[in-house]
């Protein structure tokens, strides 16, 4: 059941590099990360790749496979035709460290700025009561494995490096939505969303939702409701409607 493939893998760092071809045999059931590991063990021991769980749970092995942002560990080799050349490159939006590894500290810096959870007082009996229907929608956001593929694909920062200081990106919006919609939270993050987080930059093209390996409806369930909250707070709906109608 083994098939041969040519893996065209980016090798290099910020000072330069090139794609190198490796001929590899893929056994039945293998994922792209298995093949990368085979290359490491047999042809290129210093090939840099970031990974942890190899089970789609940690979100470490993000890369671009034939140009598409994906997890290396959840991409089966049987998606490709035997003999095919498969191109593996590092995620584009963040600075390259080496080979397939990038500097994703942007995301950790953004996370530091998010206003934390602020819970309201406990019930009279000292407990916290929340109901499954209310936590369901927040649990969807908590599925995020921080693979940062949504950040990678988001054109606001992918194509415009200079937007990075002003834009927190889809991952941050998912986190912000989870806090905003926490049934017991009382913090107000609308000013932060409008200002520091740069929510207005997003023009809901849904690229982030398409690449999410956890299937989180980032645009529909996180970003749009957040935008509505900001609009409600900062834009008088009557004036907004008038502007719309008069085409301003």
């Amino acid at each position: 059941m083994a098939s041969e493939f040519t893996m065209r893998v980016w090798r290099g760092d910020l000072s330069g590099g090139e794609f190198k071809d490796y001929r590899v045999e893929a056994q039945e059931g293998m994922v792209v990360l298995d093949v990368i590991h085979t290359i490491q063990a047999t042809q290129a021991p210093d090939l840099a790749v970031r990974w942890n769980c190899k089970a789609g749970k940690c979100g470490s092995c993000s890369a671009e496979i034939n140009g598409k942002p994906r997890l290396l560990c959840m991409t089966r080799m049987n998606l490709f035709e035997p003999g095919e050349t498969i191109t593996i490159s590092p995620i584009k939006t963040f600075p390259l460290l080496r080979d397939l590894v990038t500097d994703v500290s942007f995301n950790y810096e953004k996370a530091k700025k998010i206003p934390a959870l602020k819970l309201k007082a406990k019930e009279a009996d000292g407990t916290r009561r929340m109901y499954q229907d209310d936590v369901d929608r927040v649990q969807e956001f908590h599925k995020c494995i921080e693979c940062f593929l949504c950040q990678d694909v988001c054109h606001v920062i992918r194509d415009h490096e200079d937007n990075k200081p002003e834009f927190a990106g889809p991952r941050s919006f998912v986190r912000l939505a989870s806090l905003e919609m926490h049934p017991l939270d009382e913090e107000d993050r609308r000013e932060f969303l409008k200002g520091d987080a740069g929510l207005g930059y997003c023009n809901i093209t849904k690229c982030c939702t398409e690449v999410c390996p956890e299937g989180i409806h980032i645009t529909d369930n996180a970003i749009i409701p957040l935008k509505e909250r900001v609009v409600d707070a900062y834009y008088d709906p009557v004036v907004w409607l008038m502007n719309k109608l008069t085409g301003k």
């Binding site: 059931g29 298995d34 063990a41 916290r128």
Partner: protein, 601 residues
């Protein structure tokens, strides 16, 4: 001062490892007001805790009022075949509920009961539904909650920083030395107290549920610093790992599948676990399928299904079925929930299993059974700690979580790991901070100590032996899988010792290509030092313990030996690279706790 050659940081407390235990320790130390650093070899939030699925065991009593810490304590001790440190098991059972509720304060959103409290699920060896959970991704919820809490508290985090040596000032640990993966450059941390929270050792085996980080780093760091290790032979093989395709063999299938109604069957369709109920658990285990199935709904009038016997029992049973020729097509057994629960229920309760099997094995678990078999999952043994303070036997060094030993005895119950991380992570952070506050002056390592570490770490670049680190690793994994697996025997263990000795020689000849910047070949060459250390320790313990108990089964000594080995910990100490082994009596349980085991069921 000590050494200006390398980047140096000074802290009161450093915590090595940023899974559940490390994060919780750092949060506690920082809250105590001492300058704290958290150091991890991956990115923050990627540690192995993220892969925990089923839940956190805590007697919250939200589902069963009858539950309390004493029942949890008893379950833990009996699950561990009484080899546990009783005091750790007591503290764990008493404090776990508070630690879970604390997570909720910090933002965790567990699945809910109808009256709005934290829902609890059934798991192996637990008398009542006890596991707080979020579907089957509880570990993700826990690590993210702790991570975000730590970030908001402003704790300094050093990511992708791989600690390789502990530094000492006389008999005290006074810091750590390692390298940045990104640049390959060295870094020194000077500290008053150091907490090890580095997790386990599973990467020494071929089929494992563990991530790449599980290379026994902390166990080795502690042993080399002079700390005692205990019961290193106690390895848990989780009964249900994926077995097919081969490339994903070992990936965990949560015990929650059985907790939520799934059952194990052999190739003849038989629920074979009924044939493997040992006398030890007979009184509390259902004898008929009817009783087992009724137990899910009514625990007062029915006994627990044998599908949920402790993990060591189930793993051995699966192993025996496969050996007897009643295995599944790819050498496991069948785990069936599809015929027992609705598709909607399965997708809601076990979303990540549903996704994992669909994506990686083309199996729809709402329609077909899964093929599962044992996978190396957890080490109960490890660094010996004082129960209350998590202090190791070396001053200034603390350990919590999987790297520490004692709580789980010879076998860990599912769900007791996440609670372990929280209870003893907190205690390690608290007592490390106190130690740092009480210490006068700042201990400091000698310059030549740091320079020697640096030279040792660079050795693979200067070596012309030509050995490939990946080949050495694979040979070790084959050795441990085949010779130090679920069922062990003296002749095989001796063979393993010979092989490990020859692998050590091969490691000395490992040559690394390229430069130091993010070089996985070099990183692996260094991790192999600790992998071989834990392999050696486990094999030594396994050879010495001439009985079968929990995570250690000897074909040539099939029963437990309650009078000899049931009363001792096997203690390993390392000096100049050589382990010596001794037997020391278990801590004596006080009479009021002993009574809990006398009243029968």
């Amino acid at each position: 001062m000590a050494n200006d050659k390398y980047e140096t940081h000074e802290y009161d407390v450093i915590v090595i490892g940023a899974g559940g235990a490390g994060l919780r320790a750092a949060i506690e130390a920082s809250a105590a007001g001492v300058k704290t650093a958290l150091i991890c070899k991956s990115l923050l939030g990627k540690a192995h805790t993220v892969m925990a699925e089923g839940g956190i065991a805590a007697a919250l009593r939200n589902v069963y009022q009858e539950d309390n810490w004493k029942v949890h304590f008893r379950d833990t001790m009996r699950g561990g075949k009484m080899l546990n440190n009783w005091r750790m098991a007591q503290l764990h059972a008493q404090e776990a509920p508070d630690r879970v509720l604390e997570l909720e304060e910090w933002g965790a959103l567990f699945d809910r009961t109808k009256d709005g409290r934290i829902l609890q699920r059934d798991f192996g060896g637990h008398r009542y539904a006890r596991l707080a959970h979020v579907g089957d991704r509880t570990g993700l919820e826990m690590i993210r909650t702790l991570q975000q809490h730590a970030v908001h508290k402003g704790i300094d985090v050093y990511m992708e920083c791989n600690i390789q040596r502990l530094l000492k000032d006389g008999d005290r640990v006074c810091g750590a030395f390692g390298y940045w993966r990104e640049s390959g450059k060295f870094v020194t941390f000077k500290s008053k107290a150091t907490v090890l929270a580095t997790g386990g050792v599973g990467k020494a085996w071929k089929f494992t549920s563990n991530s790449w980080e599980y290379t026994g780093d902390g166990t080795t760091l502690a042993a080399d610093a002079g700390a005692d290790l205990i019961d290193m032979e106690m390895i848990q093989f989780h009964p249900t790992g994926m077995v097919w395709p081969n490339s994903v063999r070992g990936i965990l299938v949560t015990e929650g599948v059985r907790g939520d109604g799934g059952t194990l069957r052999n190739s003849e369709g038989e629920r074979f676990m009924f044939n493997y109920i040992t006398d030890y658990f007979r009184a509390e285990t259902a004898e008929t399928e009817e009783e087992a199935d009724a137990w899910y709904e009514d625990k007062t009038n029915n006994r627990r299904t044998p599908d949920l016997l402790p993990r060591d029992e189930v793993a051995r049973a699966i192993n025996a079925e496969v050996k007897a020729g009643r295995g599944s097509p790819h050498g496991g057994v069948l785990l069936d929930i599809a015929s027992r629960r609705s598709a909607e229920y399965i997708a809601r309760r076990l979303p990540s299993m549903h996704h994992q099997f669909k994506e990686l094995a083309d199996v729809d678990i709402t329609k077909e059974p899964m093929e599962v078999g044992p996978t190396c999952h957890y080490i109960m043994g490890g660094v010996r700690v004082e129960a209350d303070t998590a202090a190791t036997t070396v001053p200034g060094l603390y350990a919590a979580g999987e790297v520490a030993a004692g709580l789980h005895g010879a076998n860990r119950l599912g769900g007791n790991s996440l609670s372990d991380l929280l209870v003893f992570g907190r205690r390690a952070g608290l007592y490390a901070a106190q130690y740092a506050q009480d210490l006068e002056g700042h201990p400091s390592p000698a310059t030549d100590q740091i320079e020697q570490c640096a030279q040792e770490l660079l050795a693979p670049f200067n070596n012309d032996g030509g050995e490939n680190p990946y080949s050495v690793h694979m040979a070790l994994q084959d050795c441990m899988q085949n010779l130090v697996g679920i069922i062990r025997a003296e002749s095989e263990l001796k063979k393993a010792q010979t092989e490990i000795a020859s692998l050590k020689e091969r490691l000395a000849r490992v040559t690394v290509e390229g430069h130091r910047q993010y070089n996985p070949g070099w990183n692996l060459a260094l991790d192999l030092q600790s992998l071989l250390t834990v392999a050696e320790a486990t094999t030594m313990g396994a050879l010495e313990r001439k009985e079968s108990r929990g995570g250690h089964t000897r074909e040539d000594h099939p029963g437990p030996d309650p009078d000899k080995y049931g009363k001792i910990n096997l203690v390993l100490r390392r000096k100049d690279g050589e382990f010596s082994l001794s037997a020391e009596p278990l801590p004596e349980m006080p009479d009021d706790l002993k009574e809990l085991f006398e009243e029968g069921r």
